[in-house]
């Protein structure tokens, strides 16, 4: 037997993950352990709990605390035109091919509070593709989705988003796409028309749609290898042949089983194309 604090904490963490899975149906058991530990310790100090066991009591007995727990775990950190180089590359290497389709189904998975969705909508609009696209934007965090649907963002972010937009190869003026209002901006309604927001959990929910393009950026980094593989298989099954997959700059399909079915369009920006079924 190994009676030390470190070992006890590990057991407490495992029990909490199990409890959340059984009671609330959210399965974090294949998230990165280092990530889980970090989020638990952030949550612990925020609520000043003495131990993970104490935290478990409140998470299980108080749905409001659970909601906060979920937010703390789901990291909704995002930006418009995050990694402008990615968008620039995408415009140059993928958009011309997408233009050959009469109709586009796009799945943006793990869309957080929507900034990425509107970035894509703007790019598609500028390329004349938005009108023939449907964007399915999903996340497992309903609160984040609600915010995404409202499309209202803090005005302080606009300066850096404008600079991102310009670096991403934007063809217009960024201010054309929103209305400013005291402390906030609201994204133009027209950009929302072809967007469908829906709750979808990549761990527990199945194939989503026959997509021409799947964008899932900065989500897989939170998963362990097995879960990454499982989710990549789900993406493979949700893409048409010739469809594109775009991951975050630090994510890759290189080590997964689907690797052989895809060709690399951009190594640097992690854009892949499904070449065989």
């Amino acid at each position: 037997m190994d009676l030390n604090d470190n070992n006890r904490e590990k057991i407490e963490a495992d029990l909490l993950i199990e409890a959340v899975k059984r009671y609330y149906g959210y399965d974090f058991s294949n998230y990165s352990k280092a990530h889980i530990k970090r989020r638990m310790s952030v949550f612990l100090s925020k609520h000043r709990y003495e131990s993970i066991s104490e935290m478990q009591h409140y998470v299980l007995h108080n749905p409001n605390i659970f909601e906060d727990f979920l937010n703390n775990f789901s990291i909704n950190v995002t930006e418009m035109f995050r990694d402008p180089g990615f968008y620039k590359d995408f415009r140059e290497s993928v958009i011309p091919i997408l233009k050959t389709y009469p109709y586009l189904k796009i799945w943006i998975a793990g869309c957080a509070t929507g900034e990425e969705v509107y970035s894509f909508a703007i790019m598609l609009q500028e390329e004349g593709l938005l009108a023939r696209s449907t964007i399915y934007a999903t996340d497992f965090n309903s609160k984040a989705l609600q915010k995404a649907g409202k499309a209202i963002y803090n005005i302080d972010t606009i300066k850096s988003y404008t600079s991102n937009y310009q670096k991403s190869g934007g063809k217009s003026s960024f201010s054309d796409y929103y209305m400013a209002n005291y402390n906030s901006v609201i994204i133009n309604k027209s950009l929302k028309e072809n967007v469908v927001f829906a709750e979808h959990n990549l761990v527990t929910d199945g194939v989503f749609t026959e997509a021409n393009l799947i964008v899932c950026r900065n989500v897989l980094i939170y998963f362990d290898r097995d879960l990454q593989d499982k989710v990549l298989a789900l993406f493979n099954n949700s893409l048409i042949q010739g469809g594109y997959l775009a991951l975050g700059t630090k994510e890759t399909i290189q080590f997964s089983e689907i690797n052989s079915k895809f060709s690399t369009i951009s190594k640097e920006n992690k854009i892949y194309k499904k070449t065989s079924i």
Binding site: N6, S32, K33, A34, H35, K37, R38, R39, S41, I75, V77, N218, I221, Y222, R225, Q228, G248, K250, E251, T252, F255
Partner: protein
């Protein structure tokens, strides 16, 4: 036996890190993991710079990459670096900590948790107090704390904060830190 060395630096860090790594021999075995604060948009030219100027193998941390001996890993701009129990890296785009991403504290907490007493933490020059609490945690778990003498640092605030918070075993200049690491590396052979 030390299994990893974690180093944090901020303002003035590029040259401090170079000066620390230059004396290390090419067969330096203990893996070194470095967080240097950078602007989020900067290209990581540090890797190139250090590869050119030292005899070590320097590379940017990749997601889920195994941590190997004879390697120096640099945190990528805009991601925190975490360490898993199986000694692989996990990157995270969580909120900034101490206004920084990557944050030195975040790396230090995670490394302290995995390597416990087999870890050396080093805090170098910087104009904030990232790394202080992390170094405290490293020492609490039995690891070794080393801080650059504040008066010898381009920006003394970060080393001073780490000294105050963590009460490290060594407060020495960069050239002495290099000698100490070489000694520790020999002993871990």
């Amino acid at each position: 036996m030390y299994r990893a060395i974690v180093i944090g630096a901020s303002a003035g860090g590029l040259y401090a890190i170079r000066d620390l790594l230059v004396p290390l021999p090419s067969d330096f075995r203990i893996p070194i993991i470095i967080v240097q604060h950078l602007s989020p948009t900067s290209e990581n030219y540090m890797v190139e710079f250090l590869n050119k100027n030292t005899s070590l193998n320097i590379k940017e941390v990749d997601e889920k990459e195994p941590i190997k001996p004879n390697m120096v890993y640099i945190a990528p701009p805009n991601y925190h670096v975490l360490i898993e129990e199986d000694e692989t890296f996990t990157l995270s785009a969580d909120e900034k900590v101490n206004y920084s991403r990557p944050s030195i504290d975040v790396l230090f907490y995670s490394a302290a948790d995995i390597y416990r007493k087999d870890l050396i933490g080093v805090v170098l020059t910087g104009a904030n107090d990232d790394g202080a609490r992390g170094l405290f945690t490293i020492r609490k778990n039995g690891g070794l704390g080393i801080v650059q003498t504040p008066s010898s640092a381009e920006a003394p605030q970060m080393p001073s904060a780490a000294i105050l918070e963590a009460n490290p075993e060594y407060i020495i200049e960069i050239s002495e830190i290099a000698k100490l690491l070489i000694e520790m590396n020999k002993r871990s052979d």
